[in-house]
């Protein structure tokens, strides 16, 4: 299965661990990631807020590239996914708007015909591959890990635009359990991490992350698994910020789901040079060393 890989700004610039391990583990499951040439930002919410047409045109340009490649578009980041998905649906259902957008794109020599399928990483793993195949590929069951998952908001809401509930709140938990790890239910599990307010209103942003970390700790989690790079920063770098502002330590290492999956499929630990992880992963190494 081939997908046009839309990495987005944050992963490509700040979270090489995500990208590295995604590229290493996906081929195990027969997924080929084809890089998209010359993508621009997907136009996430802060940008969408400024100008409607600007958003649609920016997002549609990326969709047009995937369309030229004749491949479905695979997004890792929740915000990218939602922006591109919403755009694809709006332009699919609204030919007038589409022609206005194509008016702008024509200046770039591009056209979006409205036919691209936008998929999320979890959707591909859960529906195209399935929990069973993942279970079968596990060489090192991560039974010592008690994972607090953060699926993020935009992978699952709003329900009405998510096609046939491609990803539901339980999807990430199911996939994590397939690796042998345990998932925990914690207070405020479905609530936003506060990411979108980073840089806009840091106080609230941090409070939201903090209340989730409290819940995670109380529920007995020993690590956090995220899918969205914004959630990752909130929980990872965020723990250092919270330590500074509130004098509270949670010591919860944060992993991208593809990293968890890589560990479970037997990737060597010494490959691990994760500088984008601010909270040390030593405790995770210790727990899985035995198996």
């Amino acid at each position: 299965m081939k997908y046009a890989l839309f990495l987005g700004c944050l992963i490509s610039a700040r979270e090489p661990g995500y990208e590295l391990y995604a590229r290493k583990v996906m081929p195990h499951f027969g997924i080929e990631l084809v890089d998209m040439p010359e993508t621009t930002c997907c136009a996430p919410f802060s940008i969408q807020s400024l100008d409607y047409m600007g958003w649609l045109a920016m997002a549609a340009r990326n969709l047009a590239i995937a369309e030229e490649m004749r491949l479905p578009l695979l997004a890792f980041c929740n915000d990218c996914y939602e922006s591109l998905l919403m755009t694809s649906i709006i332009l699919r259902d609204n030919p007038e708007l589409r022609s206005k957008v194509n008016d702008v794109l024509s200046e770039l020599g591009k056209e979006y015909k409205g036919k691209v399928e936008v998929k999320h990483l979890l959707e591909v793993l859960h529906q195209d591959i399935g929990v069973k195949k993942i279970k079968d590929a596990v060489k090192r069951p991560l039974t010592e890990l008690r994972v607090a998952t953060q699926i993020g908001c935009h992978a699952v809401r709003p329900k009405m635009i998510h096609p046939t509930l491609a990803v539901s709140p339980e999807t990430l938990d199911k996939l994590v359990r397939a690796t042998g790890a345990e998932t925990v239910d914690y207070d405020k599990k479905g609530v936003c991490c506060g990411g979108p307010l980073r840089g806009v209103n840091d106080e609230i942003s941090r409070q939201l992350t903090r209340q989730k970390l409290q819940g995670m700790k109380e529920a007995g989690a020993n690590c956090v698994v995220t899918v969205c790079p914004f959630c990752f920063i909130q929980f990872d770098l965020g723990q250092l910020e919270i330590k500074r502002d509130f004098k509270e330590e949670y010591n919860l290492p944060v992993l991208h789901f593809v990293e968890l999956l890589s560990l479970a499929t037997g990737l060597e630990i010494k490959d691990w040079k994760m500088r984008d992880h601010r909270i040390p992963l030593d405790s995770v190494y210790e727990k899985i060393k035995g198996s």
Binding site: R23, L50, V200
Partner: protein
């Protein structure tokens, strides 16, 4: 706010802005505020009240500052019985605020990055080196295309307006 400052047409202005149609069917039931994660921390951020203020025409109060607390987490959108949804209307009022140059600093930074580099988070020398050492492909983007789109849709004027407003 003075009665003379009330704009009776504001509700319709918002309804005619993209993503703002929901303001017409709001029944003020309060489910959105009850579900909003930010509302639990901050009394100023009250989605239902925001809709109420739009409907009542309190234009300056609505456009200044208030719309930027929203996380766009869409919890309200999922639960709104009228599918009206303040989560979408927030985008409409932000774009109206943006037209008047009223945007928070952090967002302006992001928009400037986009305009200059085609990316929200610009790349640095360090990142390029790290990617190379990890064997990751080079980042390929088109700052030129991004700039063209933003110019074509009037984005650049919005950013310019904020700069002038700030300097005042």
């Amino acid at each position: 706010m003075k009665m003379s400052e009330v704009d009776p047409n504001f509700m319709h202005e918002v309804a005619n802005t993209p993503r703002g149609e929901g303001v017409l069917t709001c029944i003020q039931c309060g489910r959105c505020t009850s579900s909003c994660p930010v509302a639990r921390f901050l009394t100023e951020h009250n989605p239902r009240r925001l809709m109420e203020m739009i409907i009542l025409g309190f234009r300056p109060d609505v456009l200044h500052g208030l719309p930027w607390y929203c996380l766009s987490c869409f919890t309200c959108l999922d639960r709104c019985p009228q599918r009206g949804d303040v989560g979408e209307v927030v985008f409409a009022i932000r774009s109206l605020a943006a037209r008047e140059g009223d945007i928070p600093e952090g967002v302006v930074e992001q928009a400037k990055n986009l305009f200059g580099t085609g990316r929200l988070v610009p790349t640095t020398e360090f990142m390029h080196r790290q990617r190379k050492s990890l064997g990751l492909p080079e980042i390929s983007t088109s700052a030129k295309d991004a700039e063209t789109i933003m110019k074509r849709t009037g984005f650049d004027k919005i950013i310019a307006k904020t700069s002038t407003r700030r300097s005042k």
